[in-house]
Amino acid sequence: MAEADRGVFGLVGAAMLMMPTSVVVAAEYLTIDAAQRAIFPSADSFEPFVLALTGEQKSAIVGLAGPQPPHGSLRVWKAVHAGVPLGYVLLDEVIGRSDLITYAIGIGSDGALTPVEVLAYRESHGAEIRNAAWRRQFADRRDLSELEFRIDIKNISGATLSSEHVTQGVRWLLALWETVLREPSHRS
């Protein structure tokens, strides 16, 4: 083996040795229960919520949200504390590059978004979507005009499709909330 090769193997070996410590710490998948608790820590129950949309409501939601990537399944829970509703937890799936990203977000009774929680990311390309700083960009936004991709929610270079599709998905969820879930007394 040439001396240069030994240098290369040393480089790779050293790199691999330094990896596990930073990886193992954050290695757990996020379960639905954990995501619910992360989104509304003070809730004492999460009640499954059944949605049945009319054609008119579907059109209204799409009109508000704008272009959408393919979605997977959607689940909704009402977060409750001592009998008082805190808001909704919405779990959605959108296509990343070629596989579905499973993510969840909370919308408070006042319409404020929580950070996005990523429950499952299934491909290495675009895995940067899990960055805490990127996910926090959604927090406390209340209006679709505050969810413009690239402007309000920054692109992740190298994970453009994943970051754009999750942003579009969140826009759809907020439009759903505004159209169907929002309490009548809070409607503008």
Binding site: A4, D5, G7, L11, S73, V76, S157
Partner: protein, 436 residues
């Protein structure tokens, strides 16, 4: 749902059995009124319990139905049923393509138009943690002995998810070098053609065979480390200008019966912890002698650093890349008299700015400008006096144009390119591309 139905049915049967048992007793064995009242009270209690159980089971059933029905019911307008079916089967397809028209301003007879790339990709999930990823590419439309086209397997690897922040790849995969190599689809870069630095210095689309580990951290750091095949310096053709156009592009192997007696290492870091910012660097190094006669310890090293920043509607990108090939003198002495000797070093850098000028309903018009400087032979190792070639000239390329992105994955492009230092006519380019 079936399980719940069975449970409800069993409970009803039990209720009926208790009722029948209570009222079917023969009169001869009739109990006293007190005993009958006690039995009725017990029966009422049983019925009450059964009602509660039925209500609970019914609630469970409703929740189960809701979970099953909501996805289709709610997202029917955005969910492609084929996509769902493919997701369930684990099989998925993707692709991209581009058609380019290029007209030299001063030599219109050299104008060309071609299907630069037509790529079909397929992924398959064997289980929740194991995927196959492949890409098959046709360049320049027709591939035969008399045509300029090529057919290439651009990627073919198995990816294993060890946990949600650690992935491993084995097979033929893209090297994580620069901004373009892993994100080379036409909707992802500005300009009809890929920038020259990430074509001539970093040989995009650059892929090698081997194994690669990739991890990400919560604070936004991604690392890649791998052991792969490398370059083959014995492929260098001193009679061809190809080595001057792209030193590494002329000796890459693309895992086509690649010589693999000498392996290379790749290590890359990328930080995206600040929204809108990406900073990264990579180094690839390995012996390109591959045990071939006349070649010894010819280590190829390519390192680069890059960054992007997207403040508001602006988008800035910059990259610097530097390559080095060791012990070239001995080989070059055998090439004396030929036009293209092996450079010892080569480099390039660029800066690019783009602006999201119009944006409506997911459509976008983005003008951009880019300045590139590169030198594919910035230095030669010393040969005997009078034999060492002169260093190559710096080449400057200024490109300005726009991209019109629409329909979630289609782009139309136009640009103008001015060259300085290497001669050649300015180019007027138009292109169409897509990605899905």
């Amino acid at each position: 749902m079936q399980r719940s139905t069975i449970r409800i049915s069993s409970l009803l049967h039990a209720a009926v059995a208790i009722a029948v048992g209570a009222f079917a007793a023969p009169p001869a064995a009739a109990a006293t009124q007190q005993e009958l009242e006690a039995q009725l009270a017990a029966l009422a209690s049983e019925v009450s319990t059964l009602r509660s159980e039925l209500a609970r089971v019914s609630q469970e059933q409703q929740a189960t139905n809701a979970r099953a029905a909501v996805p289709v019911q709610v997202l029917g307008q955005t969910t492609d049923s084929a996509t769902v079916a493919e997701a369930e089967s684990g099989l998925d397809f993707f692709g991209y393509g581009q058609i380019d028209y290029s007209r030299p301003k001063d030599e219109p007879s050299d104008t060309t138009e071609t299907v630069s790339r037509f790529v079909v990709g397929m992924t398959n999930e064997f289980d929740e943690k194991t995927r196959m990823v492949s890409e098959l590419e046709v360049e320049n439309t027709v591939s035969s002995a008399d045509d300029p086209g090529e057919v290439e397997v651009e990627q073919l690897y198995i990816e294993r998810t060890f946990d949600d922040r650690l992935f491993g790849k084995v097979g033929l995969f893209l090297i994580p070098s620069g901004l373009l190599n892993e994100n080379h689809e036409p909707t992802r870069f500005y300009g009809v053609f890929r920038n020259r630095v990430e074509t001539a210095i970093i040989p995009t689309t650059w892929r090698e065979g081997g194994m690669l580990m990739q991890g990400t951290t919560e604070f936004g750091l991604r690392w890649d480390a791998g052991l792969t095949t490398g370059f083959d310096l014995s492929k260098w053709d001193p009679t061809s200008p190809e080595g001057k156009e792209s030193p590494l592009g002329s000796i890459h192997q693309e895992l086509a019966l690649a010589k693999a007696s000498d392996m290379s290492g790749i290590f890359a870091l990328n930080y995206t912890g600040i929204p809108g910012v990406r900073l990264g660097a990579s180094i690839f190094s390995g012996d390109a002698a591959q045990g071939q006669p006349g070649f010894d310890d010819n280590v190829v090293t390519l390192w680069e650093a890059h960054g992007t920043w997207t403040p508001g509607k602006f988008e800035f990108a910059a990259l610097y890349a530097n390559g080095h090939i060791s012990n070239t003198s001995k080989v070059n002495l055998t090439f004396i008299g030929n036009p293209t000797l092996i450079p010892e070093s080569f480099y390039g850098w660029y800066g690019q700015a783009a602006y999201d000028l119009f944006d409506w309903d997911g459509n976008s018009v983005r003008p951009f400008v880019r300045f590139e400087r590169l030198n594919t032979a910035s230095n030669y190792s010393d040969l005997s006096p009078g034999l060492t070639p002169e260093n190559g000239p710096d080449q400057d390329i200024i490109t300005g144009g726009f991209s019109f992105l629409f329909a979630q994955g289609v782009v139309l492009k136009a640009d103008y390119q001015h060259f300085h230092g290497i001669g050649g006519s300015d180019l007027i380019n138009f292109g169409m591309g897509y990605q899905f």
